[in-house]
Symmetry: D2
Subunit: 384 residues, 4 copies
């Protein structure tokens, strides 16, 4: 059983709960036992890929026509929640595959490309990645330098991307570049001449995830690999999908450290009684429970807004910003509750705490989402 202070289980459908429970079992059985060793080694557990595919975790919202599950936003969110209860890296893998690769291919690629890529992405034969961020353009992707030039047979791509989850592993990369000054998307296939994707090393976070650079040097892209979308709204539409999943995912990480804190505080004895009986410990548990419960309400509502066609990007900024923030603060408090034991890999605290530092930064930093909401309130942009 998991934290459900507000009885949200009465609002989720049976199907949604079924998906959540099956992913939860998968995480308990397949991810939790092995994740710390991958975290330490800095490797992604590749043998999970076929299993995740089999569970339908790739293409959750993708049409069944292309091998997806055709499920709703909420189902997607709950699946991400459970994956991130396991580890943010595993959830990131699924976020990229679902929201940053399969979504734009389904939304913006030709029928031919959809048929070529989506089924293989759905069954885990192919891994995808998403190339937007550049070394000097993190919070301001519109300033990107990566450039496409029209040629007779297609496009010539030059530039570099950074912080690309799964880049080194990917069979296909959704890459955003400027063509005649306008942002456009391209599908860049592994092995394309002039394309390389070296792994970035030295991470203290998401260590069970592969993070890469993408380098394009006169990389030739066929005409048919261009996506049918122009402008920043292309990548932003993908980010909206992914951020929604992150908002649910962060709840999973938060619930993991909360659950561990409740258990630990009830069994750890100091001064002759469980530390759960101390006011200073209860205060921390109550903070975590309260903030997670409000985050659950907010994520639930935004999922329903999505499903009813009423969600705005600002709703997603709200829940991404809020839920990652309360997750990271929960991990901090959980560390205090676990005392010295909290630094050991027997408990999931430090791993989640470190992972969430990346999650807080990627797909719009905390401060960038603050300013998105600030603009929504005031009508005035204060980014620069």
């Amino acid at each position: 059983m998991s934290l459900d202070f507000f009885h949200l289980d009465d609002l989720y459908t049976e199907e949604e709960k079924l998906i959540r429970e099956s992913v939860r079992d998968f995480v308990n059985n397949e991810i939790l036992p092995i994740i710390e060793s991958h975290y330490h080694a800095g490797t992604f557990p590749m043998d999970l890929v076929p299993k995740m595919a089999e569970m339908g975790l790739f293409g959750i919202k993708t049409s069944t026509e292309f091998g997806g599950s055709g499920a709703n936003y909420t189902s997607y969110g709950l699946a991400m929640q459970e994956l991130e209860r396991g580890d943010s890296a595993v959830r990131s893998f699924a976020s990229v595959q679902n929201s940053l690769v399969m979504f734009p291919i389904e939304a913006y690629a030709s029928e031919e490309m959809k048929k070529k890529f989506l089924p293989k992405l759905a069954d885990g034969t192919f891994i995808g990645c998403f190339g937007l961020t550049e070394p000097d353009f993190g919070s301001n992707p519109g300033g990107m330098i990566t450039n496409a030039v029209k040629t007779d047979s297609g496009y010539l791509l030059n530039g570099a991307k950074m912080w690309i989850t799964n880049g080194t592993l990917a069979d296909v990369a959704v890459v955003w570049a400027k063509l005649d000054g306008k942002i456009t998307g391209f599908l860049v296939e592994k092995g394309t001449k002039g394309f390389s994707a070296p792994e970035m090393k030295g991470k203290h976070s998401l260590r069970a995830s592969v993070t890469s650079e993408l380098i394009f040097e006169d990389c030739e892209i066929p005409e048919e690999n261009r996506l049918n979308i122009n402008g920043l709204k292309g990548p932003l539409s993908c980010l909206s999908q992914a951020r929604f999943g992150i908002a649910y995912g962060a709840l999973g990480a938060a619930m993991a450290v909360y659950d561990s804190s409740v258990d630990y505080s009830k069994s750890r004895i100091q001064f002759g009684k469980p530390i759960a009986s101390f006011q200073l410990v209860q205060e921390k548990l109550v903070w975590m429970m309260s903030e997670i419960s409000k985050g659950q309400l907010a994520a639930y509502h935004v999922g329903r807004l999505f499903e009813n066609g009423k969600a705005r990007p600002q709703h997603i900024s709200f829940i991404k910003r809020n839920n990652v923030d309360i997750a990271i603060q929960s991990a901090r408090l959980a560390r205090d509750i676990h005392g010295a034991n909290g630094i050991l890999d027997e408990y999931p605290i430090m791993r989640h705490a470190a992972n969430l530092e990346s999650v807080r930064t990627y797909e719009g930093t905390h401060d960038i989402h603050t300013l998105i909401l600030g603009e929504d309130i005031t009508g005035i942009a204060a980014f620069s």
Copy 2:
């Protein structure tokens, strides 16, 4: 229009929204223009009483049989929200009448007493009050000293209550006392021998509310004025009702200071531009908007839980604690945004800030609700 980031208006019924809008208009037209002068003078605006009665603000959930409106929890909550958008003192007046007087009379009094009191309380002819807190027993009402002794014709009451909203004004007091060691309720009518209710002076908060002591010196209570309820669950059931209204009410205060902050920041020019364009101002507005929006979600859900018979006292502790806390912090931030102007009575900031200090303390302090939730999480009481 008011803050509704999550489109909750799509979830409220038309009837609920109608009640909210009518109270909102009432507050705008009748309360806001006069409340600062009452606050300054330390008086309750008595001429509002018949108007509030006419609007159905007394007995909102009380059965129509006894003159009430028979509305649901959510309607009650929204009415309290709007009243407290005006002033916490006016909302407190209504909270007491509805939840602490009419509720226990309807729930625990004889049919005769219901007929005697409820219609007059509903039409504003009678004002009620609720005597639970004692000078030395605030957070721990079970320790009360006020004592009832059975006599031939009824009961002899001795003791003193403190911090009683409307005590001096009240025609009938719902008073809790120990009879043979068990807490029981009594209806004490104005003018009963041995009963006095002097006003408490020197308040820096809820100055537009009358706060009183209740003093019982061999006060004779007829048998029929005893409520049919034993134990702490009697007063606690009333507090659950009232706290729910407070949780919605605090949102009203928070929305008042937020709305004023948005308006002010967009019109106040410094360094050649609206202060709404500064990141440090946007950060404050976003904090307020986010926390109020989550508080709205939580209050909405708990109202529905109540209506579906699933609300627990801990749900109410959650929203009372959370919503008052974010309201008081919002008032603090609003003060910063309003600069020097924020200390003037042209703006509602300081009045709400001061009022909320009482609201934070009464009906369970912030810390007491923390420990109620801590016990809910851990199974261990840490009050003492």
Copy 3:
């Protein structure tokens, strides 16, 4: 005895401690007994003026030649600390007289003017005020509109000032205006044609202080009343003096609410024991003690830096910003510790809390000082 965790008393000189103790006695005997009634009435206790003069509280740092005490910065700071332990309004009165009126007259006026004004300001015969802030120029005084034009016999002053402590009471106003586009100071005497100083009403803060507008309509100022200083550095030099006193003063307010909290928590019994024995109460007391103690260290050091000629304006920004902030947060926590009693005027909590809202805003808001320090760190101004 008062909070001195770090044994700073070993570092203060005997003379400094003597001044502090005598002001402390004065506050205990003369201010605390009457201040709540003045706060309520919205009046300054004028009968304190001769007593304060007699104690040497006007012109503490002013040369003895002109009737001052010729004491050092630290002595001045400690005197302000003790006055604000009483009430921020009384401290504000002294701040204005010392730092904003007597300081600029001594620093920038002619010998004749010094002789004319300083002895009377020192003995309390004259009250002064300081006119810098304008309705539309709070955080950005350099944008002021008030204007002086040279005439044959002197200057013609036009414009308006706002938020002027003691304006209505003042015999002489130090007024800053633009002359040929450059900021210059003028001594404007009470009764000067074209000069009026109506009181501002409706304050919820510093209610025991007189706050005024200053209005200049073709107001004729004699040549000799012009100060010998040009540019924003004139008023800023005064503000540096005053802010230093505010930083010490805020410690006085913080110590007042802390001392009351310690006393209250040790005597207030709930659940059968003093509330001081609860972890949630101790946590609040420790927060207050820690922050006040660090604020004391910082104020002490900056005083010594001043005395050694090493203080920079940023040092003063630091301690003004920090100490007012921790004072206001201490008042908030003190309110929780005092429970319902904390809203009564028997305790100094709400009065200090409300006063500190003004103190936080005037002489550079919290955020403005943040940005002053931010510029100091980064070399980049981010005000606009």
Copy 4:
């Protein structure tokens, strides 16, 4: 140059500054280039030991008679500051050697033992460790189970210690056990029969430190290895020494992340300008600068109190609690400022953040020090 807002360099002696500068150079040249790889590998850089010894970093306060430097508290603090600017693990190594091993041997061992151990500990031939904490007695060491029984030739030791820095490396362990119910100290030499010290694995913090269990199974200790001290005051006196160094050390970690943040924010361009020009970034930098500066003042003062014989254990609790707390919060803010780059080992942010989680917990957790100070204020212990 390093952060010195309050010109504390004017207060440190030339000798103190010389020690600080030499350790700073050592850290820059010897530790920073290699520490991330040791952190990743989970190893302590053993080749630093002779270099640290040569620099006089072992036995800083120990009498020169026994090979120490005979320096004062402040010098010791500044050395720890600089070491922890490098890495908390290296500082921990030095803390243990100095305060937890050499201090108690000098204070409580026989002349013979002093001569036997101190010179070798000073020159780095010997490494020491300190065994107090047990698996079930972290915050409450007085409850320890480890037990000594008197035998003809000495003592028989049984029990287990946990979380022992340098345990596996140590040539001599200062071990606290109960003898006839009273806590006493023993020097347990490496290789003693019945004594083993396996390393603890799986740490996410202080990874460049060796952390061990100590296991005593009928371990025979000669009579002369018993320390001449009884009761909890023995180990507590050592902890007071060590905590003082930690308080200075945490400033080093905080200064490292602050310095990196200032540099990064001035060079990182987003939206066409350095991020140091954004208000939200300046606010974070100002927070860090302010809190570090206050922490510096507090550490400086407590050092001087120590040197003047006026320091109380509560002073040390204050600075340990405060400085570690602000360091950990600074690391969190530094992470935000560094954006995605902040998770890389090119920057010291994540390593310090993770290390400080141990530092916050060991030698008295944050909450335990809160309650120590709470007892100091109220006279009431609230630990249990």
